[in-house]
Amino acid sequence: MNLSHFAALSLFALFVSVVFGLITKNTPKEQFKYGVFVFFSFVCIASIVGWLMYFFPW
């Protein structure tokens, strides 16, 4: 499998957010909301850090 960095990151975030949502919250609604929050947190923070690193050549 030859995924791009962003696809690999998104897939990673998806798997981890599913597990975190399921094991940290008790009701399906809470699990879904927390899973979505974790997923977008992973993707957004990684994208921001990635762009910040772009400006530092060392």
Binding site: F15, V19, I23, N26, P28
Partner: protein, 146 residues
């Protein structure tokens, strides 16, 4: 006094939280051990079907994706650098699938592959997530969470 629109009145559509039940320690240990046979099996055995199946699918797919990205499974050889033993600890968390993959020589890893680092991280993290799943099953079995 609460009326129907009060935020403190539970919605009828929201499922009721399960009652806390406490299993004995022998059964609890067996349930935790089952998580290392198939991820999520402990939850399924306790009647949490949907949660167990979703955990099984997510963790197993993560493991298979890591292997297909040519990630490396670390061995538990004590003669290697002790830092690699941390990787072994993480990888071994997936349980039976780790030993099957090692036996089939699937986790050799290909450092020249573009996805090697991601694949290896996938394999570590799915093992670590499975440890968390086993701890979650322990908490449910001991009546600490619904």
């Amino acid at each position: 006094m609460l009326n129907e629109n009060s935020p403190n009145v539970p919605l009828e559509t929201e499922p009721a939280v399960r009652e806390l039940t406490r299993l004995n320690m022998g059964v609890t240990v067996a349930i935790c051990a089952s998580c290392f046979v198939i991820p999520g099996l402990g939850h399924i055995l306790m009647g949490r079907w949907i949660r167990g199946i979703l955990l099984a699918v997510a963790i197993s797919l993560m493991f298979l994706t890591g292997l297909s990205m040519q990630g490396e499974l670390y061995s538990g050889d004590l003669n290697q650098s002790y830092l690699r033993l941390f990787g072994f600890f993480a990888d071994a968390g997936i349980g039976l699938m780790y030993w099957l993959a090692e036996h089939a020589r699937l986790g050799a890893g290909n450092m020249s592959a573009r996805t090697y680092d991601y694949g290896t991280a996938y394999l570590w993290v799915c093992g670590l997530l499975n440890y968390l799943t086993a701890l979650d099953a322990f908490d449910i079995a001991r009546g600490r969470k619904p």
